[in-house]
Subunit: 153 residues, 2 copies
DNA sequence: AAATTATATAGAAAAATATTCTTTTATTAT
DNA sequence: ATAATAAAAGAATATTTTTCTATATAATTT
């Protein structure tokens, strides 16, 4: 789908705050409410707008410990890879799992309550998945920036 | 703020789909629309619900290349650290910046159009920030999982 | 170039939802 | 038990979303 400058401006706004009313968006972009409505519907139908989510404060919900976890598989046969990816995606503590280039095969973002919960997670959940060769964890000391928005220019 | 099981169930639902109507949420949780409305307002006012955002398909908007980028600072004096963090947070290509434990100081998530755009970003934007010692980049081959939701049980 | 088709926009009307208000119910403390 | 507090339900109101109709704009065909 082709995105014109208005679509991009609209997406930028919705990525910052998806609860703005069409009226507010219409005012900002100097268009009618209907025009905004139709454009959003089109962006939704074409899969440009994938989903709308609420973001929760990690501290307040007592999940204030994040770690990035490198994982190397013991073997790389297709079946093992598929199995590993399926299992790891199921774990709610794993917010992200990326297959990456470099020394390790995967990079995971893990969010839990505290260091103790992380240890618990490693011992009982992650490393109990079959075919994991080795792991290497980095702990988040401070979150400098954490956004979901892509700048569309 | 104390979260009871209904609050947690509500947060889990809103983290998956924040566009559900209060009516739909009320039906799922077997409560009245008003009860849902009041709870959401309270969660917003107490900072539990931080913001509502639209998620955009990276492929469709032509930003289908992600990299994780390790950064080591040349010096760690307070001023340099503050300056670096401020500068890097400004870059729209940097969706995340975490101060982490381990061999490197920071881990960045960078999202751009393609490898060429990444090179451009590294040369002209990232490494032009003062006080960067060294960098090490890992490219995302495949995104196995990418979620923003914390499971509240 | 004129006519035609498709596409986007605007404004008004209708439908659905969010929000407020009042009453009721449940919970907690005295 | 009784009073005070907080949460919930239902009805009333205000907003918003969505649909509908009309108009303008752009692209396409003849």
């Amino acid at each position: 789908m082709e995105l014109d400058p208005i679509d991009k401006a609209l997406l930028n706004l919705l990525q910052q705050d998806s609860k703005q009313t069409n009226k507010a968006l219409a005012y900002r972009l100097d268009m009618s409410v209907t025009a905004i409505f139709e454009r959003i519907k089109k962006l939704e139908n074409n899969g440009v707008l994938k989903k709308y989510v609420a973001l929760v404060d990690h501290k307040v919900v007592d999940k204030n410990f994040s770690a990035f976890c490198h994982i190397k598989l013991a073997q790389h046969s297709r079946d093992f890879v598929v199995k590993f990816e399926k299992e790891v995606a199921k774990l709610p503590e794993v917010l992200e799992c990326h297959h990456i280039s470099g020394d390790y095969d995967y990079l995971l973002k893990v969010v839990v309550k505290d260091m103790e919960a992380f240890r618990e997670f490693m011992v009982n959940k992650l490393t109990s998945i079959q075919h994991i060769g080795s792991t290497h964890s980095m702990f988040v000391i401070n979150e400098v920036k954490n956004s979901t928005a892509l700048e569309l220019a």
